[in-house]
Symmetry: C2
Subunit: 236 residues, 2 copies
């Protein structure tokens, strides 16, 4: 009987694999906010034992995607508007600084990466004019890559690491919401404006545009109907 699902060269443990799967499922929304994560149930779903599952949970709890209360198990972290404002604030701070450093230090390779990401983003944005409801995965991917490319030359692994964590947390909020006003925005113009400022090495302008960009996105988030009872946000 083989323990490992990935017999090939990938040196990944079951705990790592469970972590990756659960993480994606939580961000995408397969596991709803507030949902209880019972070990016995998850054992059957992911077909692994309790030990690697619990290890994955602990990591997710550290990420802020899962709440862990001693002897009372784990739940998917609930969504609430207050926390998102907070999250967006912290994210903006980090992203601006990383962008500023990136603009100061970026080389040709950085420019090339930004240009390439902007090219794809442009096409995705153009196709988006009438799209309502969920954004296509290709758009999500292009958007993530564009923003990642912009800050990729900041030279600070920790800024990147923190940025990535906050980005993922915010993405869960975005995916859990309906962007009703997506049509009223000119995302293409916003994106190209940021890219142009970055390539022109105008850090102040790029930072201002990024801040506005994040602010607009945040302002337009409208919660979907909660798919789970506990998902109803309550102020505490």
């Amino acid at each position: 009987m083989t323990y490992y699902a990935f017999d090939d060269a990938s040196r990944q443990t079951l705990a790592d694999s469970a972590y990756a799967q659960l993480r994606r499922d939580i961000i995408v929304g397969t596991r709803a906010p507030g949902e209880r994560l019972r070990i016995e149930k998850l054992k059957k779903i992911y077909e692994i034992g309790p030990t690697p599952l619990r290890e994955a949970m602990q990591k997710l709890a550290q990420d802020g995607l899962v709440n862990s209360e001693g002897n009372r198990g784990f739940t998917v972290a609930p969504l609430n508007a207050n926390e998102f404002q907070d999250l967006n604030l912290a994210r903006t701070v980090i992203e601006k600084e990383a962008l500023r450093l990136s603009i100061e230090q970026g080389d040709n390779l950085w420019e090339a990466r930004v240009v390439a990401a902007a090219y794809i983003m442009g096409k995705e944005d153009a196709m988006l004019s009438e799209a309502l409801g969920d954004l296509p995965d290709s758009w999500e991917k292009a958007n993530a890559e564009l923003h990642a490319s912009l800050v990729s030359a900041c030279g600070s692994d920790w800024l990147i690491k923190i940025r990535t964590g906050l980005h993922d947390l915010c993405e869960r909020y975005r995916r859990a919401s309906v962007n009703q006003k997506i049509g009223s925005r000119n995302l293409q113009a916003e994106h190209s404006g940021i890219v142009e400022a970055a390539l022109a090495r105008d850090a102040d302008k790029a930072c201002a545009l990024i801040e506005a960009h994040f602010g607009l996105t945040a302002a337009m988030l409208v919660p979907k109907e909660p798919t789970h009872k506990e998902a109803v946000s309550q102020t505490e």
Copy 2:
């Protein structure tokens, strides 16, 4: 609001307790940078089974205090000057923003907390004039409380959470170094300058002083010894 909220001690699991102990031991230096963390060895030391130990490890790995390589166990994250520069950069960004927000929004209670922390810090700094080698725990505690109090009114739980993590990572570096020039600094003046600027609601000045404060601390860090290899060879 504290990041590690254990308001009811009876609700502590062994995994939580192992996490807390290991975390402290790593930050303080009891577990040396680069040291391998073998489960069997730790089982005897902390007198618990492998499962809660592994869960604690995964959390610590997520914090950046432990490195985890699939099927090759865990090691205490090594120290290196490059990473510290990086860490200090990210920390400064966060701390400045949190301080600015705190100064804008702080109420009487915040002022009182800052004044109280500054009072204790002043006494600790005064006693420090001729101290060499390790700083006393009482000083560490007062210093941590002063800086925590300054940013405590920023209103962003996530900024605080990130700040706390970075603070702890930096503290490990500070504890692992000899502050030979501790005497050449006027810590009392630095601290009181920051506090005065904060209470005067001069955010720009306070941020500038904090940045200089962190920069000076970073510049003075001198590694104690190349303890890495010794730590590895220390089998039991």
